[in-house]
């Protein structure tokens, strides 16, 4: 097991380093001098020159990249140009909000998605199945920014049950979590359904039924154990979807999270802040995938032996 984790890490770390390189090159070949941007037109040529030297902007790209990598390894992602604060501290301040939002959204998607998927599979082709699958298809096909506005309009503006936007308590979290969770719930419901239907075809299920077990027990005790393996792993992979979605959800609901930092950084052309926040999000995704793979191998011994041969 430990060997598997180490091997898997050995694949993830180069990927992360490669991503820093791609990100760094993409953001540092951008036309426009960050120092000039920072100082507007007030600074003299002399001051700009000094700042450029201080920020090492005149060094070759590769030197700057290696320095960035070294600093990033030590938790230093540079200084925000516009806010004049350390990028790391800005991100760490914003992260709890994102974590809370994504966590609640994930919870919504599991609590809704898994039971819906199970019921759909059990009552295959029934009205209930069609209803759930229609609902999940809707969740997958709606742009998040639009379902967010729709929810705001219905529940905040018309019914006045919930606040429109802001981040001052649990009430402010309900709409964003439901909006963000809905799209994931659709994916989870469909996966649970198809996975359970697949498992139900196996011989051991027939055996369980032949033993005279009640259908509820066949499903809960025998089928679900195997059917939920892919569902559990997709939960970890969800990190990427939730983070992309959080960018939009945070922007609409005014939640001060990492996603909003990225959007603000683009609007104010704050390169170090954009670089740091995107890198942070990507690192989270890689971590999520790593956890998914490890979970998968823990839950399904077949994968473990297969991976041993492949990796």
């Amino acid at each position: 097991m430990l060997i598997f984790v180490i091997r898997r890490l050995a694949v993830s770390i180069p990927v992360l380093i490669g991503i820093t390189a791609i990100l760094f090159v993409m953001l540092n070949v951008v036309p426009g001098d960050p120092v000039a941007l920072m100082m507007k037109e007030h600074a003299s040529a002399d001051v700009i020159e000094r700042l450029r030297a201080q920020m090492h902007l005149d060094d070759p790209l590769i030197t700057r990249y290696l320095r960035f990598l070294w600093d990033a390894l030590h938790g230093d992602l540079g200084m925000s140009i516009k806010l004049n604060r350390s990028v790391t501290s800005l991100i760490l301040t914003a992260f709890p909000a994102t974590l809370l939002l994504a966590g609640c959204a994930a919870a919504v998607s599991w609590i809704v998605g898994i039971p819906a998927g199970i019921l759909s599979a059990v009552r295959r082709d029934s009205l209930l199945d069609n209803f759930f699958m229609g609902f999940s298809l809707l969740g997958v096909s709606m742009p998040i920014f639009w379902s967010a506005l729709l929810m705001q309009y219905i529940f905040a503006l018309k019914l006045k049950w919930l606040p429109v936007s802001g981040f001052y308590g649990w009430k402010y979290l309900i709409l964003p979590a439901v909006v963000l969770g809905w799209s994931s719930a659709g994916v989870i419901a469909r996966l649970t359904r198809s996975s359970l239907l697949e498992v139900m075809r196996h011989d051991y299920i027939r055996t369980a039924r032949a033993k005279g077990l009640r259908e509820v027990r066949v499903i809960s005790r025998h089928a679900l154990k195997n059917a939920l393996i892919p569902v559990v792993t997709i939960m970890a992979i969800q990190v990427a979807t939730l983070l992309s979605g959080a960018v939009i959800t945070e922007a609409i609901f005014g939640i001060p999270g990492v996603g909003r930092i990225s959007v603000n950084a683009i609007q104010s052309r704050d390169m170090p802040l954009l670089q740091g926040s995107v890198l942070f999000a990507t690192a989270l995704v890689i971590l999520g995938n790593l956890i998914a793979d490890i979970l998968y191998s823990v839950l399904d011994p077949r994968i473990r032996s297969e991976m041993k041969r492949d990796v």
């Binding site: 490669g18 096909s141 998040i144 992309s244 954009l274």
Partner: protein
């Protein structure tokens, strides 16, 4: 936003595209699929109305009429007017032009890149495979929206760069699927026979492997269109995509959200257009998948 492409496609090795009966069967199966046909009908209708909108609609999408701001739906303005007094429905149909083009062009681009790299990677293996797949790993690890945002930041917000950004986001998934299929095909006797017969490697890839990947590519294409439409609308909504006075659906929703309370239709209706179009393409994609590769049905 939708299922990862790998999970939809992996395991499919269509072998008989050359046979007329395969195509015929597939077409029949597709035609029998009611949802897919409904999706196709919607898309055809949408394309026709975006082409002919200057003749269908009596309204000018850019004319500002300040005395007709934010009107409710009426016989003249079927979906009301926006904050500049412009007809919302007409704006949506003009916006459809951009949204459809953005659905198709980047999907084609990522399909081309992904197919070439996927076949090379699967066929040659070794170092080529390693390099391409690690690159694909990196692209897939980026949260798509953030990657696209970074590209737009670097290159500037315009339509051409949206194509590039979305192609960059999409190729890796295609490459993985195509590679997996190439690996499977490589084991087949007919490839071995071609080798033994002295066929050159480029010819094998082009003549023997590529045609067998085409059915999968068609499915991938039809499923990546709705995804690209979603990403474009999200980018435009955040202000890093299509720029005004150009209109895409995402931008229309973004502009309309300021008037959500007075005139909800301005923001809500372009979203319905996105939803219906994405649904239609997903139905078509599902129909194509079932028709071209029945083994994928659950």
């Amino acid at each position: 936003m939708s299922m990862p492409v790998e999970s939809v496609i992996v395991g499919s090795t269509p072998e008989t595209i050359e046979e007329a009966s395969f195509l015929g069967d597939s077409l029949r199966a597709f035609r029998r699929n009611r949802m897919a046909m409904a999706g196709l009908a919607f898309v055809v209708l949408l394309v026709l109305s975006t082409i002919f909108v200057p003749w269908i609609s009596p309204h000018d999408p850019y004319r500002v009429a300040l005395d007709e701001q934010l009107l409710p739906a009426s016989a003249t303005y079927w979906l009301g007017t926006d904050n500049f007094g412009r007809d919302v429905l007409t704006r949506i149909l003009y916006g459809a032009r951009i949204s459809l083009v953005v659905g198709i062009v980047p999907s084609l681009l990522s399909l081309m890149i992904g197919t070439v790299l996927g076949i090379l990677s699967g066929y040659f293996g070794g170092r080529t495979d390693f390099t391409v797949m690690r690159l694909a790993d990196m692209m897939i690890a980026f949260p798509s929206l953030l990657l696209a945002m970074v590209v737009m930041y670097t290159l500037g917000a315009n339509l051409l760069n949206i194509f590039l950004a979305l192609a960059l986001v999409g190729w890796a998934g295609v490459a993985r699927v195509v590679r997996a299929q190439t690996l499977a095909l490589k084991q087949k006797e007919f490839i071995e026979a071609a080798h033994a017969g002295g066929t050159s490697r480029p010819t094998i890839m082009l003549r023997h492997i590529f045609p067998n990947v085409v059915p999968t590519l068609i499915v991938l294409f039809s499923l990546s269109i709705p995804e690209a439409i979603m990403w474009e609308s999200s980018l435009s909504f955040l202000g890093v995509g299509v720029q005004p006075p150009e209109a895409s659906w995402g931008l229309l929703v973004a502009k309309g959200k300021e008037y959500l309370f007075q005139a909800p239709l301005v923001a809500i209706s372009p979203g319905i257009a996105i939803l219906l179009t994405v649904l239609a393409f997903n139905f078509i994609g599902d129909g194509l998948r079932d028709a071209l590769d029945p083994s994928m049905k659950d």
